[in-house]
């Protein structure tokens, strides 16, 4: 069993708080990603879990056992580093066998020459070599065993680092931005391999990244971190479609979610960018809200002849199957970005005006504090999506 529990972890460097009472439970065999921009404390949390750093307050449990003060090697967790941290003077085989040698041979047996003569060394060494060979074969790096890391490509080094972590069958796999040093193509390939590895080994993975694509594709659950706080922990789809916090909504999704200021103009009505949207959120009339609308939530004009957000086309980005249209809308500071089907390209040109409509249930509402304001009832489907303010 290798579930992981963080209980109110706090960490600060001098006066700078890095982690503010972070609590998180990870199930046995789960793939959890810590996602956040650099400096949000995600790597620190991982290092505390690995035992490389000590928290100022709080408790870490691995498999139900409190591991505070337990040395990294006793935690049964293996780690893959961003830089791979391979020992440059050792061959691939030596790199991979080190964790096993350290655990199975005593200090005398590890001595360079004398060690080999001691009883038991030879048998244990052969066993280690066999296990390393097996792991290397599984990763497709068995032909590289005699080489040194300096003679390997980025992808090969990455595999060796994974192999070194894998070879001792840890209960928990920790990965600190393992793909960020690879080129884009290799990154996609290795992403799939890591996913496969998780399915094959079935152990708990904790993966740190700032790349939302990695987080979304790999994870069972994503934990979004910002400024030392956990904002939301949920499956990728939920993080995307149902964010708890404005910052989560803004961090996930590309192109970024459109954030438009609005005011509750009447019960069940929110006025925004010159139009009024039907809404069933409970907020006082006159309350200021921020509306989050994903670029793909927009429909080109025709949804409702009467109501639409209108603006001037400022920029068109062709992305193959999709079209990103940037729209200048009166009363909205940032250009509104809509993701439309590429077939629509012919009807859109820069400088011309364009109307967009949106389904009310796809609008996310955020309060002044950035928290999500949820509708308590399902919005009525039949209600017109956008109603002109004059209506």
């Amino acid at each position: 069993m290798s579930s992981i529990d963080f209980h109110e972890i706090e960490k600060s460097y001098g006066a700078t708080p890095i982690l503010k009472k972070v609590s998180l439970s990870i199930a046995d065999g789960e793939f959890l990603t810590l996602l956040g921009p650099s400096g949000c404390g995600k790597s620190t949390l991982l290092r505390i879990l690995a035992g490389l750093e000590l928290q100022n307050a709080g408790t870490v449990l691995i498999g139900g056992r409190v591991v505070d003060g337990v040395r990294p090697k006793k935690r049964d967790a293996a780690m893959v580093f961003q830089s791979y941290a391979l020992y440059p003077h050792m061959t691939v085989a030596d790199n991979m066998s080190l964790p096993l040698r350290m655990r199975r041979l005593n200090a005398w047996q590890r001595l360079p020459l004398i060690g080999r003569l001691l009883p038991g060394t030879r048998g244990a060494s052969q066993e280690i070599a066999a296990e390393v060979a097996r792991t290397a074969e599984a990763l497709g790096i068995d032909h590289l065993l005699t080489r040194k890391p300096g003679h390997l490509s980025g992808g090969q080094r990455q595999r060796v680092a994974v192999g070194r972590a894998m070879v001792r069958h840890p209960a928990v796999f920790l990965m600190d931005e393992p793909l960020s040093n690879l080129d884009a193509k290799l990154r996609v390939q290795m992403r799939a391999e890591i996913k496969e590895l998780h399915q094959r080994l079935g152990v708990t993975f904790v993966y740190v990244t700032h790349d939302q694509a990695e987080a979304m594709t790999l994870s069972d659950r994503v934990a979004v971190m910002l400024d030392g706080e956990l904002l939301q922990v949920a499956p990728p789809q939920e993080i995307y479609a149902d964010p708890d916090d404005r910052r989560v909504a803004e961090f996930i999704g590309s192109p970024k979610i459109n954030m438009i200021e609005g005011v509750v103009s009447a019960p069940g009505r929110v006025s925004v960018a010159g139009t009024t949207i039907a809404s069933d959120i409970r907020a006082d009339v006159g309350a200021h809200l921020t509306l989050g609308i994903r670029p793909e939530a927009f429909r080109l004009g025709a949804y409702s002849e009467r109501g639409a957000i209108s603006g001037t086309v400022r920029l068109i980005e062709h992305m193959g199957s999709d079209l990103y249209v940037h729209l200048d809308v009166a009363g909205v500071k940032q250009p509104v970005v809509a993701r439309l089907l590429a077939e629509r390209a012919a009807s859109i040109s820069i400088g011309h005006s364009l109307s967009l409509s949106v389904e009310p249930e796809r609008v996310l509402y955020f309060g002044d504090d950035g928290r999500r304001i949820r509708a308590h009832d399902k919005p009525a489907k039949a209600a017109a999506a956008l109603v002109r303010e004059t209506a």
């Binding site: 690995a50 035992g51 040395r71 990294p72 780690m79 964790p99 300096g150």
Partner: protein, 324 residues
Amino acid sequence: MGSVTSIVEKRNQASKTPKRNTGRVASSSERRRHRMLEIAASWLLAGPALVLLIVLFFLPVLGVFAIALTDWQFGASSLAFVGLSNFREVFADEGFRVSLANTILYVLIVVPGTIILGLVIALLIESGKSCRAFYRAVHFLPFMATLTAMAIAWEALLHPTIGLVNQTLAALGIPTANWLRDEATVLPVLAVIGIWQNLGYAMVLFLAGLKSIPRDLYDAADIDGADAWLDRLRTVTLPMLGPVTMFVFIVVALKAFETFDTVQVLTQGGPGHSSEMLLFTLYRESFEYLRTGYGASVAVVFLFIVVALTLIQACVMDKRVHYQ
């Protein structure tokens, strides 16, 4: 369709070929001019250094080689070509052989002593948190100071009756010695002074080397189970210090081979020949006995040893030490 495209292709080729040719002619003459300019610029830039190197290094070395083949005495107006007889004399000379043996023994004490102590001090400073700058400065001072002046201080310390060393030993009840006048102790004592002088230099280089070891490697060692200090040292620190160690090794070995100041100031090679070293022999033969031809042949032997040492070190250690 096919015929149409092939015709178009042919026409394209026809129209392209002559154009490309004229282009090549024009650009090749231009390229040659460009190359000439580049060559001229490179000679112009390298020239001053090259002239200095020839005048200050290669010509004197050649001069030494030439003098070594003559019986020239310093100040004499005549000289004769004597072939290799100077070298024969050098190798037959008991004094030279003792001097060579002393030098090698001295190097064998100073180099490992400096490297090990320098590394230990660097590791201690790096692992401590307070007064780092102070410890660094204190250990580096001897390297900055003039060795001749420092040698006089050492002479006072090692004085048989009023020296601090012997007084301390006597106070502790440990037998004393006449350190610089005893055949058994004089060379080790000079070696200790040599270590003391080079220690700071080795330490500073090791400190820089330690700083450049990626922290990730120590983290990886912790996770892999190599977290005892000896394991960390063997798995990460020492291998990663390889390039620095090679550099320290070469520099300290060369400096040790060239030891002259302490011998000249403290012992004059004595008692007997027991602290005579190569550079001192060279100096004494050339400038005290004025046997310049003989001294030049000692210099040639010395040069061969130093160059051979450097080449061996560079070849052997280069392969084992650089990783990337």
